[in-house]
């Protein structure tokens, strides 16, 4: 069938793109590591001793970028379908605001080792900061979910607005905190808000665990694909076609919130990925969510890996926030898509 072939071709291209991105990302940085060594490392083969530490650091970074890029893209796809809104991004439901507030509170308190949250987080191999951010995003999503319901049904329009309010409220709170605290702490809050893929506080097992969790969550979202297709027709049309609209919406919301919360906790808020990658992928493999999810996951991973590689190359030796790159690449791409034939969502 034509769709299947188109999907297979698209996926093959994306997978190749992702592989190239990974090789490129491992080979660029302050020291040049040859492509050969990069490929060898990615395949798990032996590499010369002097490059080992650097390659190991880069691979962890590439892995994190892939996980975050994939998660944000999957969440973006799900939310755009769930809210029937092409401008939705994963942060729209308050997840980023809540995560930022959690992180800000943690940074202001100086990060004590004695709190249960921190202890739990560190036992799992994450930093207390990540734990606080994750808790914050979960709390915010919970609030959004509770406020956006009526008689047990989630109303997409209400949910959207509640999410915007939660973000605004969190933003105001963070502003207040940055204003009253000392320069160094407000500085660290601002820095956190820029996103950071170069985190060193993730243990290897935590990274692998995060990856596994992301894969599971993405798989569960994928299963919703057919139902999400129908949801885009409208609640009533979907219900008439046999979809349990309320439950599908709830599942999509919870899974997206978890994936986004995880990304924000690990790397801070990185924008544009969850908004642009779904659109770009849609123009390659079409709007069918059963194809869109796997494609977006691969494309999102590749995109963020490349953006991070670019961020590391522009000012070698300096940690440039990757959010700048995703915006600089993402915004023009988004505009270009909107103007092309395939992107006519609003006329």
């Amino acid at each position: 069938m034509a769709r299947g072939k188109r999907f297979a071709a698209g996926m093959a291209a994306l997978a190749a793109f992702a592989a190239l991105a990974a090789v490129l990302a491992v080979s660029v940085g302050t020291t040049r590591v040859g492509f050969g060594n990069a490929v060898a490392a990615l395949l798990g083969r032996v590499i010369p001793e002097q490059d080992a530490a650097i390659i190991s650091y880069r691979m962890a970074r590439v892995a994190l970028a892939a996980i975050v890029g994939a998660s944000l893209s999957a969440a973006g796809v799900a939310l755009q379908a769930m809210l029937r809104n092409a401008l939705a991004d994963p942060y729209i439901l308050g997840v980023s605001g809540g995560g930022a507030l959690g992180a800000a509170l943690y940074l202001i308190s100086g990060g004590t080792q004695s709190t249960m949250l921190t202890a739990a987080a560190t036992r799992l191999g994450f930093s207390g900061l990540a734990g606080a951010a994750f808790a914050g995003s979960l709390a915010a999503s919970g609030v959004a979910l509770l406020a956006g319901r009526k008689k047990g049904h989630i109303l997409p329009g209400t949910l959207l607005l509640v999410g915007v309010m939660v973000n605004a409220l969190a933003g105001a709170a963070i502003l207040a905190l940055t204003y009253v605290t000392d320069v160094a702490k407000s500085h660290s809050i601002v820095v956190w808000l820029m996103g950071n893929l170069g985190t060193l506080s993730l243990s290897k097992s935590a990274l692998v665990g995060a990856g596994a969790v992301s894969i599971v969550l993405a798989g569960l979202l994928w299963r919703l694909g057919g139902r999400l297709n129908l949801m885009t027709l409208g609640d009533e049309a979907a219900a008439n076609l046999g979809v349990d609209v309320g439950r599908t919406r709830l599942e999509a919301f919870v899974l997206s919130a978890l994936m986004t919360g995880l990304s924000v906790a690990l790397a801070g808020p990185i924008g544009f990925v969850g908004l642009v990658v779904p659109h770009a992928t849609r123009s390659i493999v079409g709007a069918d969510h059963r194809f869109l999810f796997p494609a977006a996951v691969v494309a999102g991973a590749a995109f963020l890996v490349l953006a991070d590689a670019a961020a590391r190359s522009i000012r070698p030796g300096v940690e440039l926030p990757v959010g700048i790159l995703t915006a600089v690449i993402g915004a023009p791409v988004f505009i270009w898509i909107l103007r092309s034939r395939r992107g006519r969502y609003f006329e």
């Binding site: 940074l107 100086g110 921190t118 900061l129 000392d182 160094a184 500085h187 243990s203 030796g317 940690e319």
Partner: protein, 323 residues
């Protein structure tokens, strides 16, 4: 294992002594801090050059020090009775905590300042300072605090303006000679590759410009993060891996640092055994105040740096100043 929790925030040290740096970073907060527009400089306010050119110098009795470093300088010069207001976080010497605080550069307490009726404000220069301070009607002494030369000048000028000229000269002289003798001492010896860390996640380090860099060099060190000519910046950890510093100077722990905290920092670095400093355990802790407050305690900071690099005064290189 992750990096141990520090009481000091990730990023920069807690002292507002890094005010110039914080201006730069304040410039990164567009729209985050809502700034009202104040009226432009009022008439009749004199600033630095004109102030010091007056003969005789005005006798200032109601002085506001707008950074913790400047508070320290005034106290060290013995002119604290003239001080009516100090910046937030001016906690050295301890008596300074008794003085009324007037906020920080990002959150100026205008009401407090007005109520104190200052006749002189001493402040590092900067866009926000230039805009807001003149509105209080006091004379303003702007003193840059980025380089050692700046700081020596600051000692001199403040000494002049509070009538402690000879004490000011002495302070400046002490700093200058401490740096020079350190430099002479370490001229002939091989440089020790060092990294000065002021924050983690992302890793903020002292760069190739400013007080820390100058003192590090004088102490016989080579700043592996010196490629970037900024006073502080976020370094790509890869660079640390490839530069292989022999000593890590960690400024992130508040004094007194507990053993627990030091051990977590050491454990963090131990994960990267390809870095010589990590493999040999040469992670040295210095109270950040001593190196980042551009004031009289820099001399102590220099001594600590030398110790950290294994360059005890008068001793040969290679001693492991276990700390």
């Amino acid at each position: 294992m992750f990096l141990g929790e520090k009481p000091v925030a990730h990023g920069m040290t807690k002292r507002a002594g890094l005010t110039k740096a914080s201006f730069r970073h304040a410039a990164l907060l567009p729209g985050i801090i809502a700034m009202c527009c104040y009226a432009s400089a009022s008439e009749g306010v004199s600033t630095t050059d004109s102030l010091l050119a007056k003969q005789p110098l005005k006798d200032y009795r109601r002085i506001v020090a707008f950074s913790p470093a400047m508070t320290e300088i005034v106290y060290r010069l013995g002119a604290q009775e003239r001080l009516v207001g100090v910046a937030l976080f001016s906690d050295y010497p301890p008596e300074a905590k008794e003085k009324p605080t007037v906020g920080g550069i990002l959150n100026i307490d205008s009401e407090k300042i007005i109520s104190l009726r200052p006749d002189l404000i001493i402040s590092p220069p900067g866009a926000i300072a230039n805009e807001k301070l003149p509105t209080f009607g006091a004379d303003i002494l702007y003193l840059p605090d980025k380089t050692l030369a700046d700081i020596e000048t600051a000692f001199l000028r403040i000494g002049q303006i509070v009538g402690k000229e000879s004490e000011g000269k002495a302070l400046a002289g002490a700093l200058k000679s401490a740096v020079e003798s350190a430099r002479k001492r370490n001229e002939e010896r091989p440089k020790v590759k060092a990294l000065v860390v002021i924050g983690y996640e992302p890793m903020w380090v002292a760069g190739g410009y400013g007080v820390v860099e100058e003192m590090l060099e004088a102490a016989g060190g080579e700043n592996v993060a010196g490629g970037e000519k900024k006073d502080f910046y976020a370094i790509d950890f890869e660079k640390v891996l490839s530069q292989r510093p022999e000593v890590i100077v960690d400024l992130t722990l508040d004094a007194p640092a507990t053993d627990e905290r030091r051990n977590s920092v050491k454990a963090f670095w131990k994960r990267f055994s390809s870095i010589p400093a990590a493999a040999t355990g040469r992670i040295k802790f210095i109270d950040s105040d001593l190196l980042t407050i551009p004031g009289p305690r820099l001399v102590e900071g220099l001594a600590e740096l030398e110790k950290a690099l294994g360059r005890q005064q008068g001793k040969k290189a290679g001693g492991d100043g276990a700390r």
